[in-house]
Symmetry: C2
Subunit: 273 residues, 2 copies
Amino acid sequence: MDKENFTIACFSNEYIGDDAAIAGKMVFNKDIFAQNSHFKLGWLSLEEIGYKAMIVNFSDTIVMNAKPKFALLGLSLPKSFTPRQIDELSRGINRACEEFGVKIIGGDTISSSILNISVSVIGELKGRAVLRKNAKFGDLVAFTGKLGGSQKGLNSLLRLAQISKNSRFKKPILRDKFFYKAAHLINSAMDISDGLKTDLGKLLKASKKGAKFTKKLSKFELSSGEEYEVLFTFSPKNLSAIKRIAAKTRTKINIFAKISHKRLRQNARSHHF
Amino acid sequence: MDKENFTIACFSNEYIGDDAAIAGKMVFNKDIFAQNSHFKLGWLSLEEIGYKAMIVNFSDTIVMNAKPKFALLGLSLPKSFTPRQIDELSRGINRACEEFGVKIIGGDTISSSILNISVSVIGELKGRAVLRKNAKFGDLVAFTGKLGGSQKGLNSLLRLAQISKNSRFKKPILRDKFFYKAAHLINSAMDISDGLKTDLGKLLKASKKGAKFTKKLSKFELSSGEEYEVLFTFSPKNLSAIKRIAAKTRTKINIFAKISHKRLRQNARSHHF
């Protein structure tokens, strides 16, 4: 049994089931970024950990077509952490916040056996919310950028090899510029955090649709998690407009499937090692 | 050096420094409730842990004069947890939410070595926000209910003794009914989470004032943390109106000090065992 899905079912209501919850013009989301679930100490510098903990949360806000505005920070810090280490972690957190214009407005700090960063983001919709559940029959299905780099980085780390500081595993790149401009042309979207195959399964389940692949993707592209590229669907009539926005924002767009009536049966599993 | 204050200083801005942060008509707050920081497994049932994790967060919202509306839940669950245990925890969480009319609108779940519950609450102001920093010269200083029970319960647990399920350590009682009715008569307030002496120090520091005790309080009353009674100050001209609301809502009010000009020097320390 999948404990994450069991837990979610304990709190089921109409707000739950997308990258973020919507209330009026505001959106709210929360993700934990924790040692031994998402990283081992030593794999990333504390500055990189702080940065990534924030970015992966902003990603959820952005793919709703909302601007992240405020964050609440729950820091469980190892007892052994020195002020210098706390300072390094906070530099990464603050760098991410400055890059996306987010203010930290509150939080809590406790001592713990492991580093656990829980982040809540409060965002404001920039227009119509883009949901997972609105994929339409005939939509083209695409993802931004390149997929696979995060898994490759993780594999290297698991082999105790070094990875570049620009590895996607260390430093996700968000597609906010493209997405905000294109959102009015997009029917459904989510970020790719558990792997394209799993996340497409979630989007199709939410939309009660299926998909037919029009392009062969590699195993890495299909399964690599924590990519934070955007998976999205749109009507073919918007293709040239979307291509123009992609060119203008220097965003690679990969069209790989088409939405069909038939519902894809798939068990969406979470990506945690 | 106090690592909590050091950490807070890393993220300092104008929103931080009260029980909750205010943005427009909304207030936001977040507290972590974690094994080995706030409780040992076995001290409280999982249902009691879930309930208390929520209540202590609602408390921060309420003392701002805001109604808790939504919550985001970050659950780090021990790998050994069974569905039955998750269900028990969620029953306590849901019971607290039903009692206060709060909806859980999102969150995240991971496996962890220890139980760590991070809760963010989104509340809506019911009128003017009540802040820590607005204590006025001549204000009477009071707290609701009785203090000391939480420390006594904790001491029993540390001696491996049993405590009643109604012990304040297990089940804080919030003063929302009294506080919402009296808020327009109150100048400053906060909840008592670190102990009356420490929390009064914080309120006076925020208000740049001092206080003169008019009543002798016991060591337990002064130092017991996690009480979640309300510490508040108000003009003597509102005394009879406040007493009427207290009687109507069956809330005990203890006036024990008066706000003075002189600033009390005190190092506010956090209450974690």
